[in-house]
């Protein structure tokens, strides 16, 4: 009997350290966040009053929140489409195993292992309107400088490009993995039938890569929704609030606005969005 209980308990004992860490650092803060979102309070005075769903009701009328949510959606759509297209193109171009393509792969993957803060600083150094390298170059060529980070549209474009640059390497590797699973016989047969490279891409590569593409789309979407550090360093959400996304709005509400409970309600909304996307991803992974 004791032997049987021991055998039943063993796997849980092995899991225990991980569960403990996960519980303390992930589950507990999540539960706290959810509870806080139903209260009014601040850092200094703690939780002061239970307000039910008042914080959530307020979100529907909060222009700063709705604005940052809308900007996040546009940002995610742009970043994800560019990431999928560019990383797929890179994967097709660099799937061969020559030295040149291996070096190129490393080059494109490098931004992935850089800290987002470093990426932000580097891009800021290049694109700063008054102190940036690119504008200095333009001036030396007799061209007028471009307001990269002080004009709303230019700043949004730079933020999207910096994010895409920092992400494509990772998804390129996933696409290369996907491409390698496509049997070469299919291409050989297509060639025999006289199919052009373009036809091979649309008729073979793309359909057979569909599961990988879906996986990349969902992963990139989740990551894009969580974008924070690069933008914080690059534009700090500016000019004005033109590049302020959801995560930064949550951060500002909590710390500059000293309103952690209202910020918690915003976090719960973001959590719900990410939860749906994660469930979709799990479903896709299972199906493939």
């Amino acid at each position: 009997m004791r032997h049987k209980v021991g055998r039943l308990l063993t796997p849980y004992l092995f899991l225990a350290p991980n569960m403990l860490i996960f519980g303390i650092f992930v589950v507990l803060p999540m539960v706290y966040g959810l509870v806080y979102s139903f209260y009014r309070g601040n850092f200094i005075g703690g939780l002061q009053q239970f307000v039910g769903i008042e914080n959530y009701r307020q979100l529907l009328e909060d222009r700063a929140f709705l604005n940052s949510l809308a900007q996040t959606v546009v940002y995610v759509l742009l970043v994800v489409s560019l990431v999928v297209v560019i990383s797929l193109m890179l994967a097709i171009a660099l799937r061969t195993t020559t030295l040149g393509s291996a070096l190129a792969r490393v080059g494109f993957y490098l931004p992935v292992i850089l800290s987002p803060v470093v990426v932000g600083v580097a891009w800021r150094w290049m694109f700063s309107s008054d102190l940036g390298v690119i504008n200095a170059l333009l001036s030396s060529l007799g061209q007028s400088p471009i307001p990269w980070l002080t004009d709303i549209n230019w700043a949004r474009a730079v933020v999207v490009l910096a994010s895409v640059w920092s992400m494509v390497g990772f998804y390129m590797v996933i696409f290369i993995g996907g491409l390698n699973t496509i049997p070469t016989e299919l291409y050989q047969a297509a060639e025999v039938d006289g199919a052009s490279p373009r036809q091979q891409f649309w008729q073979i590569t793309l359909p057979l890569l569909a599961p990988t593409t879906l996986l990349v789309t969902i992963l990139a979407t989740i990551n894009a929704f969580k974008a924070f550090e690069i933008i914080l360093v690059l534009t700090n959400g500016g000019p004005g609030d033109a590049t302020r996304l959801l995560v930064q709005n949550i951060y500002l509400t909590a710390f500059e606005g000293a309103n952690p409970t209202y910020a918690s309600a915003q976090s719960v909304v973001l959590f719900a969005i990410l939860m749906v996307l994660t469930l979709m991803q799990l479903r896709v992974s299972r199906d493939t």
């Binding site: 850092f43 700063s128 309107s129 980070l149 002080t150 534009t235 000019p239 004005g240 609030d241």
Partner: protein
């Protein structure tokens, strides 16, 4: 066995006798120079108090409030922290009451009256003033000489705003400085113009906001035009570029900031700099502020914290400490203190402070200003981006200010 017990007992007792208290201090820094000076004073304190070890956590100014908020929320407040006029009110509810350690009237009487509203919440004393600050304009002497412009050096011949603008135009076009003016990205620094125009944030009753006025409009329109006409580089208010860097690198002819930069600029070697009296519009005025040290309720060593605060703000320590940092001590007995080669620069700040109306300090010691700081700044940014007119911005700030004042009551 008995010997072993005795030895263990001896070790335990010796350990207790030599046990050190660790005083946790959170200190924001503006520059490495300032950090090195504070380290030196910490060592002096430790030498004078052998039972105490002072552990200092240095944080950049931008992260100070967040750091303290999180420490307080996590029930692990530091023993001592250095705070400023803009955030001392926020930590009032959790402040260590120094009144329990001193005779309140003689303690308060040591400091300049302008700093008392920030620390005295009758009957509690929530902190002690370290130094007084004043906003002001640093200028690149070489660029002004090159452009052939004579900068007023004393309070008798202060520029008007129109003369100031004209000087910006001339210095930008006739010297190596690419930009006329760098301007700190804060509501506090913008308010220098508001007060010079004769305006104010809160009316004398303290119950209504007063920024939506002809004076407010004059200040905000003048400020927005400085950006529109390219005198202030847009990146400083629109994309977080550091204004200080542009001035220190010799690319900006002037820098609107404050006296706390003197120590940092004493290291500048690539050009000569000075401080000019703030240009006048309707009146002459600067914006006074200050730095304070405070303790926290529930910290590990409240008694030692109070002792450290009183030590740091005592005459014997605070005067040399202020001199080393080239800041204006908040103590009354610091009057007439000399700073060597920077006496002229400090004299300009003192002259601006001496003509500043008392309501300027009252505005900024109102807790509502700490809450509205970021809001006001973002409304100004919308004007700079052309998303709203100065008048619309003032109406929005006025409405929010009135709302916050009502909530406070």
């Amino acid at each position: 066995m008995r010997k072993a017990w005795l030895a263990a007992l001896f070790v335990a007792l010796a350990g207790a006798a030599f046990a050190q208290r660790t005083l946790q201090v959170v200190w924001f820094t503006e520059s490495p120079t300032e950090q090195a000076i504070f380290d030196r004073y910490v060592k002096m304190y430790e030498a004078a108090n052998p039972g105490t070890k002072v552990e200092v956590t240095y944080v950049p100014f931008q992260q100070l409030t967040q750091k303290l908020q999180l420490m307080v929320a996590g029930n692990t407040p530091p023993d001592v922290a250095r705070v400023v006029t803009a955030n001392i009110a926020e930590f009032d509810p959790v402040a260590l009451d120094l009144a329990a350690y001193v005779d309140p009237s003689s303690f308060l009487n040591q400091f300049l009256p302008s700093q008392i509203p920030y620390i005295y919440r009758k009957p509690r004393i929530i902190g002690a003033p370290l130094d007084v600050t004043a906003n002001g304009i640093f200028y690149n002497k070489d660029c002004f000489d090159e452009a052939g412009i004579r900068v007023p050096t004393n309070s008798l011949q202060v520029w008007t705003w129109e003369q100031w603008r004209e000087a910006m135009d001339r210095v930008r076009n006739n010297s190596r400085c690419r930009f006329a003016l760098s301007y700190d990205f804060t509501t506090h620094r913008f308010s220098t113009l508001l007060y010079a125009a004769g305006g104010r944030f809160i009316d004398p009753s303290g119950k209504r906001f007063a920024i939506d006025s002809p004076e407010g409009l004059r200040a905000l329109s003048f400020f927005a035009d400085l950006f529109k006409d390219g005198f202030i580089p847009k990146g400083q208010w629109l994309s977080n570029d550091d204004p200080s860097t542009l001035f220190r690198s010799g690319q900006s002819a002037m820098y609107m900031s404050g006296n706390w930069n003197v120590a940092q600029f004493s290291q500048v070697r690539n050009f000569n700099w000075g401080v000019m009296p703030l240009p006048r519009d309707k009146i002459r005025s600067t914006v006074p502020g200050g730095k304070f040290v405070m303790g926290f309720k529930g910290s590990k060593n409240p008694n030692e914290a109070a002792k450290f605060i009183l030590w740091l703000t005592s005459k014997e320590i605070n005067l040399p400490f202020s001199k080393d940092n080239m800041v204006l001590s908040a103590r009354k007995d610091a009057k007439g203190m000399k700073y060597g080669q920077f006496d002229d620069a400090i004299a300009v700040f003192l002259s601006d402070l001496s003509v500043t109306p008392s309501y300027v300090g009252q505005d900024w010691s109102n807790p509502v200003m700490a809450r509205l700081n970021t809001f006001i700044r973002s409304e100004i940014v919308k004007v700079l981006l052309g998303q709203q007119s100065p008048k619309q911005a003032l109406e929005t700030i006025q409405a929010e200010g009135d709302k916050q004042l009502r909530l406070l009551r």
